[in-house]
C-alpha cells in the first residue's frame, strides 16, 4: 500500500468538504472536552473523598452536666459511653475533648474573628468524644446507637454533611457526562454524514478503483482516515480547551473555595485524560467510519 497516495486522498477529502470537516472537528472537540471535564471531576471527587474521609469523625457531644463535672471522662455515664465506643468493632479510636480543649480549638478556628472569640466562654462549649471509624461510610450505626443514651446531648456526623456536598458534585459530574454523550451523538452523526457526502462526491473515483481491482482497504481507508484525522484534531482541540478552561476559570473558582476543592493540575489533564480522549476519539471515529462505509458504500 502506498502511504503517499492514501495520505493525499485524505487531505483532498478533508479540503473538499471543508465546512463539514470543521463542524465535525468542533462537535468532536466539544463532546470530548465535556467528557474530559467529567473525567477530571470524577478524579477531583475521588481525591476529595479520600482526603476528607480520612478526617471524617463522628462527634458525640456530652450533656452540660457531664461537661461541667467530669473533667477526664472517668465517672459514669461518660466512662461507660467511652468504653462501649472503644469496644465497638467499627471504631478505630476515641478521643475525649473537655471544655477547655474545645475552647482552645474554638479560638483557633475563629482566630480571624476576635469578637466571636470574645463572646464565647468555655462553659458554653460542651465536652465531646471524637470518634474515628475504620469505615467512615458506616457512621450511621454509631449515630443510632448513641444518640439517645443518657449523658449524650447529641451526635454529629460529619459524613452527613459531606454526603450532601458530594451528592452535589456527583450530580455535576453526571450532568457533564450527559451533555458529553449528547454532543458525542451529534459528533457521531456528523462523522457518518461527512463520510457519506465524501463517498458520494468521490463515487467516480471509488467506482474506478473497484473496477481496476483496488482492494477494499485502498478504496475505504481514505474515508476511514478522514474520520480518524478529524477525530484526532477534535481530541487535541478538546484537550487544549480543557487546559484553557482550567487556567481561565477553574483555577480561580476552586481557589475561592479555600482549598476545599483541590486544584486540577495540568498533569491530571495530560495523563490520563488526554490519552483517554484521544483513544476514545480514534475508536469512535474509526467505528463510525467503518459502519457507515459498510452500510452506504458498495465494495
Amino acid at each position: 500500500m502506498r502511504a503517499s497516495f492514501v495520505f493525499s486522498e485524505v487531505v483532498t477529502g478533508l479540503r473538499r468538504n471543508v465546512t463539514m470537516t470543521i463542524a465535525m472537528i468542533l462537535t468532536t472537540a466539544i463532546s470530548l472536552g465535556m467528557f474530559g471535564g467529567g473525567l477530571l471531576l470524577v478524579r477531583t471527587i475521588d481525591k476529595m473523598q479520600a482526603s476528607y474521609l480520612d478526617d471524617v469523625e463522628v462527634t458525640v457531644y456530652l450533656t452540660q452536666d457531664i461537661s461541667a463535672n467530669d473533667q477526664n471522662c472517668t465517672a459514669e455515664p461518660c466512662s461507660s459511653i467511652r468504653s462501649s465506643l472503644e469496644n465497638n468493632q467499627a471504631v478505630e479510636s476515641v478521643v475525649f475533648e473537655d471544655r477547655d480543649e474545645a475552647y482552645e480549638r474554638f479560638q483557633r478556628i475563629f482566630e480571624g474573628q476576635p469578637e466571636l472569640v470574645e463572646l464565647a466562654r468555655p462553659e458554653s462549649l460542651p465536652a465531646s468524644l471524637h470518634v474515628k471509624l475504620f469505615d467512615p461510610e458506616r457512621s450511621e450505626v454509631i449515630v443510632q446507637e448513641f444518640s439517645n443514651q443518657p449523658g449524650v446531648a447529641n451526635v454529629d456526623d460529619q459524613n452527613k454533611f459531606l454526603d450532601r456536598f458530594f451528592d452535589l458534585l456527583n450530580s455535576g459530574r453526571d450532568g457533564t457526562f450527559i451533555v458529553a454523550a449528547i454532543a458525542a451523538l451529534a459528533a457521531v452523526l456528523l462523522i457518518a454524514n461527512t463520510i457519506q457526502v465524501s463517498a458520494y462526491t468521490r463515487r467516480t473515483e471509488v467506482g474506478i478503483m473497484r473496477l481496476v481491482g483496488a482492494t477494499r482497504w485502498y478504496t475505504q481507508l481514505p474515508f476511514l482516515l478522514e474520520a480518524v484525522v478529524a477525530g484526532v484534531i477534535g481530541a487535541v482541540l478538546g484537550v487544549v480547551g480543557l487546559v484553557g478552561v482550567k487556567y481561565i476559570a477553574l483555577d480561580q473558582i476552586f481557589e475561592a473555595t479555600g482549598g476545599a476543592i483541590p486544584k486540577i493540575e495540568i498533569v491530571d489533564i495530560l495523563f490520563p485524560v488526554a490519552p483517554v480522549l484521544l483513544g476514545v476519539s480514534i475508536l469512535i471515529s474509526a467505528i463510525t467510519g467503518y459502519v457507515t462505509l459498510r452500510a452506504y458504500v458498495r465494495t
Binding site: R2, G207, G213, A214, T215, R216, Y218, T219
Partner: protein, 229 residues
C-alpha cells in the same frame, strides 16, 4: 479464457431472467462482439465477468478464476486481470491525462518507478503522447475514450471488456477506436465488446454472440450484425 456454463441470472425486481441458460466459451486472444437490443442481457453478461453480479445458476470463469464462487477478498485480483472501457469514458475530471492513467496503477499499489515508466508507454500506444498534461475537458470525445482505453490497458489485462465504447462517438472517431481495440487485441488480450453499432460489427467480421431476452440466439465465428445482411 472466458467460460459461461448454463448461466442464468434473475433479478429480484424482474419476473423475466436477465440471462437464461447461457453457455459461451471465449478463447485466449479472441475478439468477440456481444450484440442484441437493449435489455437483452449484454450488460449483465459483462457484470457477471467482473463479479459485479453473481449468477443465480451456472458457472462463470475468467482466466483461472471461478468467478461466482471466489471469496470477496479475491475479487480485486480478478479485476486486475480485466480492463474496462465504457460509453461515458468515466475519467476523473480533476486529474490530467497521465494522472488518470496512473491512478489505475496507484490504487493497486504499483511502485512509483513502474508507474512513471509504463504510463508514457501506454499513452504512446493509444496515440496520446504529447497530451499527457491535458485535462479531460480539453480533449475531444475520441481522445477521452483513448485515455480510458489507456487506463484499461495500462496494467496489461488478459481481458478487455468494452461496453458500447463507440456509443458517444461519430463514425470516423469510432473507426479509430476500433483500430486501437484491434491493436490491443493483437498483443494477445482477449477483447469482448458489447455494441449496437451495425457498421462496426459488419466491417470487422469477427465473432458475434447475439443475445435476445437473455438467451444466446446466435454465435457466428465471423459474423455480421443482422443475419443475412
Amino acid at each position: 479464457m472466458i467460460q459461461l456454463e448454463s448461466v442464468s441470472k434473475a433479478y429480484k425486481t424482474s419476473t423475466r431472467p436477465a440471462l437464461d441458460d447461457v453457455t459461451v466459451d471465449v478463447d485466449k486472444g479472441e475478439f468477440v462482439f456481444l450484440i442484441g437490443p437493449s435489455g437483452s442481457g449484454k450488460s449483465t453478461f459483462l457484470r457477471l465477468l467482473l463479479r459485479e453480479e453473481v449468477p443465480s445458476k451456472g458457472r462463470v470463469s475468467v482466466s483461472n478464476f471461478d468467478v461466482a464462487k471466489m471469496p470477496r477478498r479475491k475479487v480485486p485480483r480478478l479485476r486486475q486481470t480485466i480492463g474496462c472501457v465504457f460509453q461515458d469514458f468515466r475519467l476523473l475530471n480533476n486529474k490530467t491525462v497521465s494522472e488518470n492513467v496512473a491512478f489505475a496503477l496507484e490504487v493497486i499499489g504499483k511502485p512509483k518507478h513502474t508507474i512513471t515508466k509504463v504510463v508514457p508507454e501506454v499513452l504512446e500506444l493509444v496515440g496520446l503522447d504529447g497530451k499527457a498534461d491535458r485535462m479531460p475537458h480539453e480533449l475531444s470525445g475520441g481522445e477521452q475514450q483513448r485515455v480510458a482505453m489507456a487506463r484499461a490497458f495500462v496494467n496489461r489485462p488478459l481481458v478487455l471488456l468494452a461496453d458500447e465504447p463507440t456509443g458517444n462517438l461519430d463514425p470516423d472517431t469510432s473507426q479509430d477506436i476500433m483500430l486501437l481495440l484491434e491493436r490491443i487485441n493483437r498483443t494477445g488480450t482477449t477483447v469482448l465488446m458489447a455494441t449496437h453499432d451495425h457498421s462496426i460489427v459488419d466491417s470487422m467480421r469477427r465473432r458475434v454472440v447475439e443475445l435476445d431476452h437473455g438467451k444466446v440466439i446466435r454465435d457466428d465465428r465471423r459474423g455480421v450484425y443482422g443475419v443475412g445482411r
